[in-house]
Amino acid sequence: MTFDAQLNSDAPFNFDPGRNQQPEDKRDGPPWGSPQALELERTWREPPGLVGWLSAVNHKSVGKRFIITAFCVFLAAGLLAAAMRLQLARPDNHLLGPDLYNQIFTLHGTAMMFLFAVPVMQAMAVYLLPLMLGTRSTAFPRMTAYAYWMYLFGALMIFAAFFLRAGPDAGWFEYVPLSGPEYTPGHRSDYWAQLISFTEVSGLLVSVDVVTTVFKLRAPGMTLARMPLFAWAMLVTAFMIIFAMPAVMTASTMLLFDRTFSFHFFNPSDGGDALLWQHLFWFFGHPEVYFIFIPALGFMSSIIATFARRPIYGHPAMVLSLIATAFFSFGLWVHHMFATSVPELGKAFFTAMSMMIAIPSAVQIFCWIVTLATGRLNIRAPLLFVLGFFFILTLGGLTGLILGSVPLDLQVHDTYFVVAHLHYVLIGGAVFPLFGAFYYWFPKITGRMLDETLGRWNFWLFFIGFNVTFYPMHHLGLRGMPRRVYTYPADMGWNTLNLVSSIGAAIIAVSVLLFIVNVLKSRRAGAPAGDNPWGAPTLEWATTSPPAWCNFAAIPVVSSREPLWQGARDATSPGHVAGLATDVREGLVTTVVDALPDHRYVYPSPSIWPFIAALATTFWFIGSFYMPTAMAWGMIPVIIALTFWFWPAQDETRKHLLLEKRA
């Protein structure tokens, strides 16, 4: 019997939550439909009602909310981009004044980078990792719920500020002294600085969750060497976030102190330094590009293996490339600052690093091409998006080499050439794989397939629209058009290219609209997916679609890198471990390297307190720049909420004691 069939045994999965069947034996292992599996489902499902909804901690509920919220931010920030393209479609345009335009481009960049690109990748990890690693939850479910609420409240705050015409307007990079108290009075930059706090709290907490989940919750037998490349990518990303994000958090807090308490961290006339900001910001900002890019590499590897019907060629080289990319990405930040005064030797070092980081990306691209060449191709929408990556990202990577070269950078820096480059890298390198990932995992998440025809239209319109929008910007930059200008004179020779670019943006908008139509339509009326519609190798496809609340009726045991393809190799099938409690949320903790069963661990139950704590933190963060003293006393409600959050509940303690006594 294959592993697949074992989990889905004879009884079809028709869980009925109303049935209050209490099995004698409270250990998991029996297949779907058994009293044990039903009790497991009751244990892992979210509590009912509004309070239950606010208390949700299951990684799938939180992950889904995270993904949907991030996608909404993508749409909102995309609309801002459309407004900018409308403004720039012709010269001397007065549609948006400079004040509104500056807020729009600032919010577009801020939202895309901080509220879409990084969170959506983490959201995918929160949803997919436990399924892919063969476990029932991420390591810290309440913390993840809190991270989600913080993210949501941060996003709501910054968009609210924008609609109140108090949106930040000094760019997503908020260079001082422009963003400082003297040149941006009011609260615009404060909103930006605190948005960083929101996203940092959220991003760091999810990263801690991801690292712990990947290291300690893998299914028994899933040694590090057998771990899917997606999990590697998310692990590497989480470590990068943990190392990089504190830099920008420090910077934004210092900015807030300069603005709120008249500190002088960045004020050169009082011993501060304006360049300090740039170093701190880019020490985070450059790795940030890679913590958007690396998860996408994980999507790529997942999709290519499945649709080329073979394992990715050069798995160890792929893993090492991910790690090397992460290391090198911390040595590039100064290439954003070549036009400031950097010593000659320093410039040469950062140029060399900027070129070197191309090597691990090249290794991965070559391994994927070899995988495709030696595989048998099932060309479907997810693979199309992945193929789009090769064209766009390669071009973006090559223009990246141009930006890494000091002399060339001095010319094209801060021009539309950079706008072209960064969109080639971020849209080609992250958004195309992400759309591929949506097409790929949508059946798992909803149980229904996305429409293939619409998917192809979605892809081709996006691909064409993207190139029409962004390719001309390379030429605009070379013809001297600087970035972040709200309009331009008619006699500069920039008119046609800008118009073409704006038309391309409209094509992208149509393509994204098609995607939304596809999702709304397929959610209800799409073809039923079945457990493993793509014939994929990894564990998330071993369970039902959508996955049961408990993910698996029994924790799988893994003995190869492609567990669901193993039968094709040696006619053996992976087994499972049984015996975890069905009446509390219990999980199996395994060792870091070999994934040997180590001990059992009881997860916290759903709780409203992460939500309340997030509300309290939001009050603290926003209050602190309206009432400087709130920086201190605003903490008190947070502490109270956290105390309730961690207060042990009697009935749970009793359950845990009983569990200990159970043999």
């Binding site: 090249a362 070559f366 099932n378 014939g535």
Partner: protein, 321 residues
């Protein structure tokens, strides 16, 4: 298309070095791009088709794929060689940029303001120092050493036909060296986002032969002439008794504030308000009446002067050649 502000039409040695490096890099990158797409196309052409039900090919787990390994190792080795070539060319160009001979250089101090440029022409004799706004003249064939300072926030000095950019950073002094080798008029523009009117912070660079440059500099050193006709005289009096002189300096008069562009030779400049509008009497009148309409956020407030006074002011300013 004019080459007013264009990276790929170098008019000076520094921009020329960069343009050479540009074409070399683009050629190499184009080869790599074509090679990768060719590899991908070959893969897509070669691989047979399958569907989700096809059994996966697990053979690679059991036997080494020597052909694949050769392909990847070769491609990576070639990539490394290509990167080394780019790195070498880049460092060599950077070195060339840093070693521009500086004998007989012209020294200019640039101060960036929200949202205009101040150019101070240095001279060993203090009386020969002069200052201009949004317009810079340089002699062809002589190196120019430009010292950059920010008056408020960070700006970036960029004349793409002559050189790459250099930031003006509060609390620091940066320098850039360039040389124009072809006479002509080039446009420069602030390249670092600096607030509301970052879009209109442009300036003109006139590269001319040394004699013409000296004539221009001598003219700039002269104080403003006394107005001769009555209308201009009235304009002068309005200027000196009104709010104008609280910000704008005009040498040879009592207006010696330093907050706004020096107007001593304003009528000789091609544009107004750092490239916002052409410099003619109508433009000047419109600008004085309502700068906020033409350049929202500019530091100059609107002046609701009666028409006759505006005429007089414009008549006076038009005498400042």
């Amino acid at each position: 298309m004019n080459a007013l502000q264009d990276v790929l039409h170098p008019a000076g040695v520094q921009a020329g070095h960069i343009a050479h490096l540009w074409w070399f890099t683009v050629a190499l990158c184009a080869v790599v791009f074509v090679a990768i797409l060719a590899g991908l196309s070959y893969a897509l052409w070669r691989a047979p088709r399958a569907d989700a039900r096809s059994a996966p090919d697990m053979a690679s787990m059991d036997r080494p794929e020597s052909g694949a390994k050769r392909a990847v190792v070769t491609a990576v080795a070639l990539s490394i060689l290509g990167l080394l070539a780019l790195l070498g060319a880049s460092v060599a160009t950077d070195r060339a940029l840093a070693t521009l001979p500086l004998e007989n250089a012209v020294h200019i101090e640039v101060v960036g303001h929200q949202w205009w440029w101040q150019f101070n022409y240095d001279d060993p004799i203090p009386a020969r120092v002069f200052s201009t706004a949004n317009e810079m003249h340089i002699p062809v064939g002589r190196p120019v050493v430009i010292t950059l300072q920010a008056g408020d926030v960070i700006h970036s000095f960029w004349v793409p036909n002559l050189h790459g950019k250099k930031d003006l950073i509060p609390g620091r002094i940066t320098t850039i060296q360039l040389r124009a080798d072809q006479a002509g008029t080039y446009r420069g523009q602030c390249a670092e986002f600096c607030g509301l009117q970052h879009a209109f912070m442009a300036f003109t660079v006139v590269a001319e032969d040394d004699a013409a440059f000296q004539r221009w500099a001598d003219a700039q050193r002269k104080p403003a002439p006394e107005p001769t006709d009555a209308k201009a005289r009235r304009g002068h009096d309005l200027f000196m008794s009104g709010t104008c002189m609280m910000c704008h300096p005009i040498s040879g008069t009592t207006a010696n504030a330093r907050k706004a562009p020096d107007l001593t030779h304003i009528a000789s400049r091609p544009t107004l308000a750092a490239g916002t509008l052409p410099n003619d009497p109508q433009g000047l009148a419109a600008w004085i009446r309502d700068p906020q309409k033409l350049k929202p956020g500019a530091q100059m407030p609107a002046h609701h002067v009666p028409d006759d006074e505006l005429d007089a002011l414009v008549a006076y300013l038009e005498t400042l050649r």
